[in-house]
């Protein structure tokens, strides 16, 4: 049996004080302990950005790779060694700006990796530039007139790309986050968990707006078939609506389809 602290290497995190990514780290190590994984039997792979520093704080195998390229590295690791679980911890810029192609293809191939998107809705490491998930009007340092386009709906994107497990959670809710991580980790196939993690340093307004919103857990709100892709898309269509007064969390989709590496 492993304990959550077995997966922490004792290095103090380099994130800002109070950063919600600390909670994500905490949930991840709880998940791994709950799933009784050995620290030397898991590979945590990240790209570049605030979120991608996560493997440095873990006692496990890890790869801190290139901006946007965590997923192809994870695919190679998983295909070469299907006995070793692979978790990608990446940010919104990493996954949906520079690395978007890789996300779509890995999801479509249903490669058995778990992708955790630690979404702070901006490029925070370079001090607040708009990212694909920043809301329309976001005042980034390179968009002084406000971001022109709407936020990319990454839940819809994940579903249409072919991900077989799609969930959403909030970094403020460690228990729910752990439940989603565990379900994703145990899923056979490409699993994606989107985590609302507003940046408290550069995105205080966004955070405060989120705090006032009502949390809807779609798994409690309705009795629905999780493998129903059409229904998942209907729920997903509201998941990024800036005008909505709700934040939807829970499992949108969970389908059982052949996994790429065992095809």
């Amino acid at each position: 049996m492993t304990e959550p602290q077995d997966f922490l290497n004792g290095n103090s995190s380099s994130w800002c004080k109070g950063c919600l990514f600390n909670s994500t780290l905490s949930s991840l190590v709880r998940t791994l302990a709950d799933c009784n994984v050995s620290p030397s039997g898991v590979n945590i792979i990240s790209g570049i950005g605030c979120s991608s520093r996560l493997p440095f704080f873990m006692n496990s195998y890890g790869m801190h790779t290139l901006h946007g390229r965590a997923i192809p590295v994870a695919c190679g690791a998983r295909l070469a060694r299907p006995d070793i679980p692979v978790i990608v911890t990446a940010g919104d810029g990493d996954l949906f700006s520079i690395g978007l192609t890789h996300f779509v293809h890995a999801a479509n191939k249903n490669i058995n990796i778990t992708v955790l998107c630690m979404d702070n809705r901006m490029f925070a490491m370079t001090k607040n530039q708009s990212s694909p998930t920043s809301e329309c009007g976001h005042m980034g340092s390179m968009t002084p007139g406000g971001k022109y386009e709407n936020a990319l709906n990454v839940i819809e994107l994940a579903i249409v790309s072919g991900a077989t497990f799609v969930a959403q959670t909030r970094a403020e809710d460690e228990d729910h986050m752990t439940d989603m991580f565990t379900a994703a980790f145990l899923h056979r196939g490409f699993s994606f968990v989107h985590i609302f993690s507003p940046c408290l340093t550069f995105g205080k307004l966004s955070y405060e707006r989120d705090c006032s919103k009502q949390i809807i857990d779609i798994n409690k709100a309705a009795d629905r078939d999780l493998s129903d892709r059409r229904s998942a898309l209907e729920y997903a269509s509201t998941s990024f609506n800036n005008e909505s007064e709700e934040i939807t969390v829970g499992i949108f989709l969970k389908r059982s389809l052949p996994v790429f590496e065992y095809r």
């Binding site: 790869m63 390229r69 997923i71 060694r81």
Partner: protein, 598 residues
């Protein structure tokens, strides 16, 4: 001073034919006329008929236009260069025939014109009619001209008809109507020739007791990778590297290996990075444009010290360039294409068989120095096939087995310590019980990010210096040809790299027969530069000549920059492999000018 030589024409006529030199049959047609298929059959049948044979395909990158040529060489001996002056030119289109004034037709030059549209030889070709075999429309019309020709040339060059028909049966084993009509056409061509013509060459005895195999450069790389223990390959389709993925996707699973067609070249090398970190020897392959996309990851692999082999099957560039044609233009990008400062190992095979051996060495270097190794092959090798004795494809060196477990591997393991042994321990998840991360950030000996100036200097220096001994460690990468040569007495020294070596080797051998004294160096180690070898080469002659298939003399530049030497650079950049016969003329002219000037 950079000299440059120009090909006289796309074909050149050799004035003699002996079985000591290969006899070259060059077949030229519009793309889609089927000559690649028949050339391949003819080449394979020539081998089973007792010849050493090679095939070089020059294919247009357009889908269905442009000119395709296939050069089949046949010989009683091993063939060192797949191209050279043409002895027999086969044309499907008389508009292709440009006999310029600077080409003199010799009595033994042959030209075969298959014309599915003309009834008689065009008037402007009359003056060469003694050298031309004209196969007119009334003979070709009812048949497939390509397969009729295959039968005809099989007779003319003593290639066994039975072997040709057996190969056709294998190729078209699906057993449709096409098979019967092809066999009829080949038979017709053979019968027509045997009734009306005499063979063009004397019959030879079988050349080898050994089993001969047909192999091309890309297949040799694949075989080398498999024998080196590569069990993961990822790539994205690109000419002329594509067939590496094609071949491995069929053969690697037999060795429990994985082939992954990635969504782009960045993903391909990324997957290789992940697979290698997981404990599996890995390779990717691409060509110019794709190789450029991989540069960021190559720098990452250098910094994180992850072994990997990156094969660049070079083509004529820049940008899309001439995608299916030969060029050796990626040497400097391979050496200096990264960002920041890193020492890259760059190797280049010297022949098709050497593609096999150098690939194994590339994997060994990657494991020993824990770094990416770039293997520079070329379209000239990718599109060349040759007959080789099967026993040549056995490793010339022990294969390094990755060390993943060690007593020292634990939570305090210092992966990036300067005190590490020659063969590094590379822990892998699920195998070695430790916590271990790789990163592209500058890091300390424990792999934790560090911005300390002292640590940066220490780590950068360590990474650069760790492969300083490669020239000594892998001395078999330095190939010498010092036949009939002694120190200080050579007319000149010559060095060549990659797919230019076969032509240089052929030209050097021919010049020696004329009395020239030449010291030749054929390094497969391109970078770090083999400085000891070049110092030794200068002992033979201070006149150092480096011919190469690019415009700017990239290897010459590298030698000049690293060793302060001033080689004479002979460059040719026309999308074709160097013609050894023309190179010989150019070398003689250059050396004689030097003597006059001296």
């Amino acid at each position: 001073m950079m000299a440059q030589y120009i090909f006289l024409s796309y074909f050149n006529i050799r004035s003699f034919w002996t079985m000591n030199k290969p006899y070259r049959i060059k077949i030229s047609a519009k793309a889609g006329d089927g000559i690649i298929g028949i050339s391949d059959l003819f080449f394979r049948a020539a081998i089973t008929s007792g010849y050493h044979s090679s095939l070089y395909k020059s294919i247009p990158s357009s889908i269905r236009s442009g000119k395709t040529t296939a050069t089949v060489s046949i010989s009683a001996d091993m063939i060192s260069s797949q191209v050279g002056n043409t002895d027999c030119l086969v044309l499907f289109d008389t508009s292709d025939l440009h006999f310029d004034n600077d080409i003199s037709l010799q009595s033994d030059f042959r030209c075969i014109i298959c014309s599915p549209s003309l009834t008689a030889l065009p008037a402007h070709l009359f003056k060469w009619r003694d050298s031309i075999l004209f196969i007119p429309v009334h003979i070709l019309k009812p048949v497939s001209p390509a397969y009729f020709l295959l039968g005809t040339i099989s007779f003319l060059f003593h290639v066994n008809l039975k072997s040709v028909l057996e190969l056709i049966n294998i190729k078209y084993s699906s057993g449709n109507d096409l098979l019967n009509s092809i066999i009829l056409d080949v038979n017709d061509g053979y019968m027509w020739a045997s009734e009306t013509l005499e063979p063009y060459v004397p019959r030879i005895q079988s050349v080898s007791d050994q089993t001969l195999e047909c192999i091309d450069g890309n297949q040799a790389i694949c075989r080398g990778a498999i024998d080196a223990g590569c069990r993961f390959f990822s790539s994205y389709p690109i000419s002329p590297a594509t067939s590496i993925g094609d071949f491995l996707s069929r053969s690697l699973p037999e060795y429990n290996g994985i082939v992954y067609q990635a969504e782009d070249e960045i993903a391909a090398i990324g997957a290789v990075c992940g697979a290698s970190f997981s404990g599996v020897k890995s390779m990717t392959a691409s060509s110019g444009p794709g190789f450029s996309l991989m540069q960021e990851f190559i720098s990452y692999l250098s910094t994180a010290e992850i072994p990997a082999v990156i094969t660049d099957v070079m083509r004529s560039g820049p940008s899309s360039g001439i995608p299916t044609h030969h060029g050796q233009e990626d040497l400097l990008p391979a050496v200096f294409g990264g960002h920041g400062e890193e020492e890259r190992i760059v190797l280049a095979p010297s022949s098709i068989v050497n593609c096999y051996h150098t690939t194994i060495t590339a994997f060994n270097c990657a494991e020993q120095y824990a770094c990416p190794v770039i293997l520079l092959s070329s379209a000239a090798f990718a599109f060349s096939s040759e007959s080789i004795e099967a026993c040549l494809l056995t490793p010339r060196e022990p294969v390094i087995v990755r060390k993943t477990v060690s007593e020292n591997v634990n939570t305090t393991f210092e992966r990036y310590s300067s005190g590490n042994s020659v063969f590094p321990v590379l822990p892998a998840p699920g195998i070695s019980d430790c916590s271990y991360i790789v990163t592209g950030l500058e890091h300390d000996s424990h792999s934790l990010p560090s911005e300390s100036p002292e640590n940066h200097l220490l780590q950068v220096t360590r990474r650069i210096e760790k492969c300083a001994s490669i020239e000594k460690d892998y001395s078999h990468l330095i190939e010498w040809d010092l036949e009939q040569t002694s120190i200080y007495t050579s007319d000149f020294s010559i060095a060549a790299w990659g797919a230019d070596i076969p032509a240089v080797r052929t030209a050097v051998a021919s010049m020696r027969k004329k009395g020239y004294c030449i010291a030749a160096l054929y390094p497969q180690l391109i970078f770090p530069v083999c400085s000891m070898a070049f110092q030794k080469l200068l002992d033979y002659s201070y006149l150092l000549i480096i011919p190469e298939s690019n415009c700017t003399g990239q290897y010459s530049q590298l030698i000049k920059m690293n060793l302060g030497l001033s080689p004479v650079s002979l460059t040719v950049s026309n999308g074709e492999p160097i013609n050894p016969d023309l190179l010989e003329i150019e070398l003689e002219s250059l050396v004689q000018k030097r003597f006059i000037n001296d």
